[in-house]
């Protein structure tokens, strides 16, 4: 392999190389520094005159005396069955002291789009054991459902709880977790790892760790390596894979950093104009394929800068993903775990995975009614602040109390509390039973007769 020593410019994470033979776009590049260290990079722009290489590691140590080797192929990820239980760096190298991965296949990391015609519509309910997700924002297999959080909120706990508890009730099919960390702190990573080890989840997990002090540019490939692995596990080996990507905000920051280094024309808030397409090329790598056994379900986590849901990162994410779970600071301040605010949360695929044959026939109606009653109670809180509780009507007071009760019993649950969907729905009914029956306008008479605690008890007694 030819080695060039024709570096013209080094700027941030980018190295500009002159006078090369034709180099392919997206090609993998090895850079050998004076002390013999080999750093990896990727071609971002190629022409007869100059080739722009984005270096995945720090450019410290790279100088005009460094050698550049173009490998002649795009980045490929070696994948194999023995990846389960392993911890890899953000660049895909084992960092758990174990042996190298024995590759069964080497796959392109960019990941081709699934032909929409080959997709099967998601329909299997995933039980996470968290009421606010299972009951009112149901996750289904093949979905991409991000957690919108903000600094200082326990989104990691929520993600871990989902990873620990997620299952398809009544199914014995193999489940695997692919966990990709981008720019999280060592402390957070340890927290994740300790939990994985304690619960034995690590055995069926592949972990990619790009930590806060790892090169930012490496974050660009981490999710792609993770998703390539996930697709291999799902579509080649038939696993149902849950992919957790945290924190997508750090990923977008890295994207912006490269955009700036390339002196691109920035879009909103300085993020590159192609961020939508770039994010889509990550998030869209979820789904089910007709006639193929496995599935990829994605839970990306992002922290909203300044709790702002209209910031470009959550905004563009929301336009690609199928809903969002919103973690809320007020609930967290009230000491409620898991502090998920159901009102702005949404699962767009919920209706495909609930109801008779999936969960329970009353699921949709109970969810609608809980949602509506909580929304009404929550609205009244604003009014109470102005006119005082005494000015409320009897009816309004009931809804106000319902909202408190909903937060205290339905939203609040233990870190290790794994509620079955029946428990969640019955809990919902218990709460709804505090309201007069005629106020349950979203539920048919028939279902009320069948599930309302009042009648249930009668039937049993």
């Amino acid at each position: 392999m030819k080695e060039y020593r024709t570096i013209a410019q080094i700027a941030g994470p980018l190295v500009f190389v002159e006078k090369t033979e034709p180099v392919g776009y997206s090609e993998l590049v090895n850079i050998v520094t004076a002390d013999g260290t080999v750093k990896r990079g990727q071609v971002l722009d190629t022409s007869d005159e100059i080739v722009v290489v984005q270096v995945f590691e720090t450019t410290a140590g790279i100088g005009r005396d460094s050698g550049i080797r173009f490998t002649g192929e795009t980045i490929k990820m070696p994948v194999g069955r023995d990846m389960l239980g392993r911890i890899l760096s953000g660049g895909g190298k084992p960092i758990d002291g174990g042996p190298e991965i024995v590759p069964e296949k080497r796959l392109e990391t960019t990941g081709a789009a699934i032909n929409p015609y080959a997709r099967a519509p998601p329909a299997d309910f995933i039980q996470t054991g968290i009421s606010t997700i299972d009951g009112t924002n149901t996750l289904v297999r093949g979905q991409k459902l991000p957690i919108f959080s903000a600094s200082g909120l326990p989104h990691n706990d929520v993600a871990l709880q989902i990873a620990r508890q997620a299952k398809v009730p009544g199914s014995t099919e193999e489940f695997a977790v692919v966990f990709a960390a981008m720019g999280i702190t060592r402390e957070e990573a340890n927290y994740f790892m300790a939990d994985f080890e304690k619960t034995g989840a690590l055995e069926r997990a592949v972990v990619f760790l790009n930590l806060a002090d790892d090169p930012a540019v490496e974050r660009i490939i981490t999710p792609r390596l993770a998703l390539t692995t996930a697709e291999y596990l799902a579509f080649d080996l038939g696993y149902h894979v849950l992919v957790i990507l945290t924190d997508m905000t750090n990923y977008c920051e890295a994207l912006r950093q490269i955009g700036a280094a390339r002196e691109e024309v920035p879009g909103r808030r300085g993020y590159p104009g192609y961020m939508y397409t770039d994010l889509a090329s990550i998030y869209e790598r979820a789904g089910i394929i007709k006639g193929v056994k496995g599935s990829v379900t994605q839970i990306p986590i992002l922290t909203m800068p300044g709790d702002d849901i209209t910031h470009p990162i959550p905004d563009l994410t929301g336009y690609i993903t199928e809903g969002q779970i919103v973690v809320n600071r007020e609930l967290h301040r009230k000491g409620i775990y898991a502090p998920i605010n159901v009102l702005p949360s949404l699962s767009r695929l919920m209706n495909l995975g609930i109801g008779k044959g999936h969960t329970r026939e009353d699921h949709k109606k109970v969810s609608d009614q809980l949602y509506a009653a909580y929304a009404e109670g929550n609205d009244l809180r604003g009014l109470v602040a102005i006119v005082g509780k005494d000015a409320l009507s009897e009816r309004d007071r009931m809804f106000l109390e319902f909202a408190d009760l909903f937060e205290d019993r339905f939203v609040r649950q233990g870190l290790y509390e794994d509620r079955s969907i029946e428990e969640t729905l019955d809990l919902g009914w218990d709460l709804l039973a505090t309201l007069p029956e005629e106020q349950l306008v979203r539920i048919d008479r028939e279902l009320i007769q069948k599930y309302h605690p009042k009648y249930r008890k009668k039937a049993q007694g």
Binding site: Y25, D45, I114, N115, A118, Y274, E284, G287, T310
Partner: protein
Amino acid sequence: MKKEKENGAQGALKRISGPVVTAVGLSAHMYDVVKVGNEELMGEVIKIQGDNTIIQVYEDTAGIRPGEPVSNTGLSLAVELGPGLLTSIYDGIQRPLEVLVDKMGNFIERGVSAPGLSHEKKWEFVPVMKAGDVVKAGDILGTVQETNIVHKVMVPPRSKGGKIKKIAGGNFTVDETICTFEDGTEIAMLQRWPVRVPRPVKQKLNPDIPLITGQRILDGLFPIAKGGTAAIPGPFGSGKTVTQQQLAKWSDAEIVVYIGCGERGNEMTEVLTEFPELEDPKTGRPLMERTVLIANTSNMPVAAREASVYTGITIAEYFRDMGYDVSLMADSTSRWAEAMREISSRLEEMPGEEGYPAYLAARLSEFYERAGRVITLNDASGSVSVIGAVSPPGGDFSEPVTQNTLRIVKVFWALDAKLSQRRHFPAINWLNSYSLYLDSLNEWYDREVSPEWNPLRSWAMGVLQKEAELQEIVQLVGSDALPDEEQITIEVARMIREIFLQQNAYDAVDTYCSMSKQYDMMKAIKHYADLARTAQLGGATPQQVVTIKSKNELPQIKFTRDYEPMLAKILKDMEAEFDAMRAA
């Protein structure tokens, strides 16, 4: 795409930067289709700068090197038009997705071409012209029973026409000659048309016929004309999909073209699985038989996304030229605009507002301008109505795509997530929506519905507007504090909202409401309002007027097929109740 090497010079790649590449030594024209690299990836010329030709590539460019060949086909990006379009599901550059699955499996790899139409399938062609007839461009030569839709085979628009020497019926593929002119010109059923060029028409007509959708809030309050343009914003969970499906099912357009532009894969799958299952209520046949779907998800190549809306509208125009009314839905034009922005930024063009290219407004208006009701070249009348969804980021309507769209389109159906949370469907906000076709459609409503309809609509809009003002007061002081007259207004507005505007898409009867039924319903509400006003002037309290029993029956007529006797009885009872009130 036809492989024509003879007139296309070979060039070589000079620079590759994502979906945008530069070639040298190529003699090309703007928007020529080129084959890029050893794998012959499809691309399109978007800029010429000295010897440099800048090309957007419709497929992933990873691994392509400078020096690889580029060849010019000398053709513009074109679609194949002919029998076989209906029931098809295409990607943004008219590759049938089903064929792509067969050719390259479940994932979309690159370097695979697939023709838009089957070139093997034989269609039964029935001529309507005979030897000796003189035909010109656009004339109908014969027909093919494509599905339950009759496909009209036309002389291509750019043909000189001529005297027919030979024409015969029989089974033909789209490539075989069905007609020969005296001058030797051979005509096949297949036409190619460059997507960025509007197909020619004889004359554009004024938008004076409404596209009847059977949806009360649309036909009644905010109608779109046949050949008109409408925008529909799609905030999270506002029931956009149901509204679009209702339009596809019930609007009196014969052909539906749906463009999924940069949407979610799983949702596209929902459309792809649901549309073929939807039944056409008018014929009982699958709705797919008169539908063409274009699906380009957000992670498919960005340049193909940019092309998808042009592919769609060209297909729509082709059916229009046969004399059909076509409705085209583009979901979402915001994703299309983002594709433009992305390519523009790769070209290092000077950005306009929010990074969008300065030509955004021009592109949007060019696109919407291709809608219209026309006299076709063969003197039939046909139309393309365009309904474009916009997805304003952060729900902010002041962003450039929404603003530029609103400047062009004549109808705005403001889907409102708050209404859908209150379970008011269709969740179209009656205060923010508008239709600028009202004036041009007045005459049609006078003639086809009733001369009373237009005043009735203005009255209803007035009541709803008044209600909005009154609601502000009610929230401060409570409804009891309002004058009697206004309390009745509030009640009448509630009736308009709950009886007229709310419509159940899932009810067998209510899902479609004819114009005459809409008229009867609105007239009944107005009748109540008039009686109530008279009674109130005669000394009745609002409480008395509001609680009359017969009006509670009124919503039932929505769900009743032969509603006339029921409505007559309700109106009779209502009058009797008011008479009794007066007597008391």
